[in-house]
């Protein structure tokens, strides 16, 4: 069981993590706006996460912590 944690306030909504996820776990939350004015990433399908860490490796703002 993998676990994702986000530093949501630092997310810039670039979406690079969304694209790189092999299981399509992540989405930009269109209904939310963070402190920086971006739609932050969230785990839309957390149960599908395999904890590969690709999203965190890709994220330029190191907002994602991945545990497995």
């Amino acid at each position: 069981m993998a676990k994702l944690t986000f530093r949501t306030d630092n997310c810039k909504g670039c979406g690079l993590c969304v694209d790189v996820c092999p299981k399509k776990v992540l989405e930009l939350a269109q209904d939310k706006i963070n402190k920086r004015g971006h739609h932050p990433v969230e785990a839309a399908r957390p149960d599908d996460c395999i904890g590969c860490g690709s999203c965190a490796i890709m994220c330029p703002d190191f907002i994602i912590k991945v545990e497995r």
């Binding site: 670039c14 979406g15 690079l16 790189v20 904890g51 860490g53 490796i57 994220c59 912590k65 545990e67």
Partner: protein
Amino acid sequence: MIVYDKPHALLDVPLHYCPGCTHGIVHKLVAEVIDELGIEGKTIGIAPVGCSVMAYDYFACDMIEAAHGRAPAVATGVKRADPTKVVFTYQGDGDLASIGMAETVHAAARNENITVIFINNAIYGMTGGQMAPTSLVGQVTQTSPYGRDPKLCGYPIKVCELLSELEGPEYLERVTVNSIPHIRAAKKAIKKAFQNQLDGKGFSLIEVVSSCPTNWGMTPQNALKWIEEKMLPYYPLGVYKDRSAAEVKE
């Protein structure tokens, strides 16, 4: 088990870079390597002038902000002051390959025992998207509005190829960070560049082909594709010099 978390050598502060800018990815790789080698306490980083000018606020090690293009000269001073310290510069293409070309070439020629992280994103980012020494032929920028015309302003400079002709440098490699496999390879190269310094082998430069979605006028995703389709054919990835490996072969 933690698969990934912020490296210790990066402070927990938001970066000022634009959304999807790959500077952040390279910052992470440098910090991860510093963590893995356990050298944060004895590392001094030199920030350039350009988009990464404020890198001094992000890395947890001691940091110096250099004048435009002069980071290799400043690094030379710091390293000569105490050769037991680990010294790296982090420079963009305008800083390293235009205004600071002399400092780059001579630090390489001296085989100065430092690590240079060179971000090549083919544009001046901080000043708003002007032509860089590495801008591609035909590339539209604020100061090449009709596309870079080689008749007018020559051809983009291939830094790794150029430096590889020198006797001096220990290690030169070009990497990119537009995909997970490429990021993993980039980290390996950066680690080698720091390890070389710890081993006293000398000047290592890692050129990271990077993106600038804002000034390229693209989404972050398309910018990564542009690296693959436009940048890499002109800037092929690979090791351009590995003197120790070559000596072993001989």
